[in-house]
């Protein structure tokens, strides 16, 4: 997959926002939105997140209904000053994380960077085995953006601009 052609300030948002609000749709047509750390795999033009096998509902939803969305609307911790709000609508591929490819390593590194206190867990041999099911036994959602909308940084009521459409 080629890299995405996106404005630099939108790329900044995808790189640096701590959590995106990811929405999947369940069998009943109910959208469910949860915050999730994401990793922007710029070389592959995809966005990666992962769920624990103990809480696989997002993954099950995305297998059944691969159209998902990611809203980047909370800049807390990002260091960005009045960033644009960005909505990514895309198609998800779902797979268990069994061999830790570079994009999953990128996601783990992103979590460690944004949540530095988590290293007390992941670095402790006892804790990481107790919480294996939460920290390492995970299911990945690899999201290929089909459409990206962006609002102005001050989001003062302006309409969004479509900055990417594929397909």
């Amino acid at each position: 997959m080629p890299p995405l052609e996106l404005p630099a300030d939108v790329v900044d948002v995808l790189r640096r926002t701590f959590t995106a609000e990811i929405t999947t749709v369940n069998r009943a047509g109910q959208p469910m939105t949860w915050p999730s750390v994401t990793y922007f795999d710029e070389a592959e033009g995809r966005i990666i997140c992962a769920v624990s096998i103990a809480y696989p509902v997002k993954a099950y939803n995305a297998r059944r209904h691969p159209q998902v969305s990611l809203l980047y609307s909370d800049p807390t911790g990002s260091g960005l000053d009045r960033p644009r709000t960005v909505l990514v609508q895309g198609t998800a591929e779902v797979a268990e994380v069994l061999d830790y490819p570079p994009d999953i390593i990128g996601l783990f590194a992103t979590v460690a960077d944004r949540q530095p206190d988590s290293s007390r867990f992941t670095g402790n041999r006892v804790v990481r085995r107790l919480f294996n099911w939460y920290l390492f036994q995970r299911i990945a959602l690899r999201i290929t953006p089909d459409r990206v909308l962006a609002w102005p940084g001050d989001d003062d009521g302006a309409m969004p601009v479509e900055v990417l459409r594929r397909g």
């Binding site: 939105t33 103990a54 998902v68 590194a109 206190d117 990481r128 919480f131 036994q137």
Partner: protein, 162 residues
């Protein structure tokens, strides 16, 4: 499903994220301000205000509330599920049908943390049990996890990124 009294916590959040499903099947989301409106004769509703909330009444939707600090700690989250409805001229509301917390408890929107050991223990027990159910359904065991190799590669990744 969590206790509807958690609606009282909505005032702790500056805004929520409304999500709905577009006719083309893609979900969409928009941050909006939220006011809880009690209805003694029926379900409570969330009055939603924001720009371009071009949503159709009658559709299923949810509002996520979440927050964290600058070190991605102090996590709080909950999702209010329901149906969209007209709410006066130009207004939109979510008729509340339930709340989900995903933290192992129905009485708080706080995520488990080492500083709250009883909550962490409840989260651990529920999560381990759910993970075992997943693995049983999966059939074959999960492959061994190369913790040290993962740690080394994460460090290399961070070194490359500076």
């Amino acid at each position: 499903m969590a206790d509807l009294r958690l609606l009282d916590r909505i005032g702790d959040y500056r805004s929520g994220v409304l999500s709905w499903v577009q006719p083309d099947g893609y979900p969409a989301s928009r941050r909006c301000t939220v006011e809880v409106v009690a209805d003694p004769g029926g379900a409570p509703r969330l009055a939603l205000a924001g720009t371009d909330l071009s949503v159709e009444p009658g559709g299923r939707a949810c509002v996520l509330f979440h927050r964290h600090d600058e070190r991605l700690e102090g996590l709080h989250q909950m999702v209010v599920k329901g149906t969209l409805a007209d709410d006066g001229p130009g207004g939109v509301a979510l008729i509340v049908e339930g709340i989900v917390t995903a933290n192992g408890r129905g009485d708080t929107d706080a995520m488990p943390h080492a500083s709250a050991p009883l909550h962490m223990l409840a989260f651990y027990r529920a999560g381990r049990s759910a993970a075992r159910a997943y693995l049983t359904k999966r059939g074959s065991p999960w492959p061994p996890i190369p913790f040290d190799e993962i740690g080394r590669r994460v460090a290399e990744h961070n070194a490359r990124r500076g």
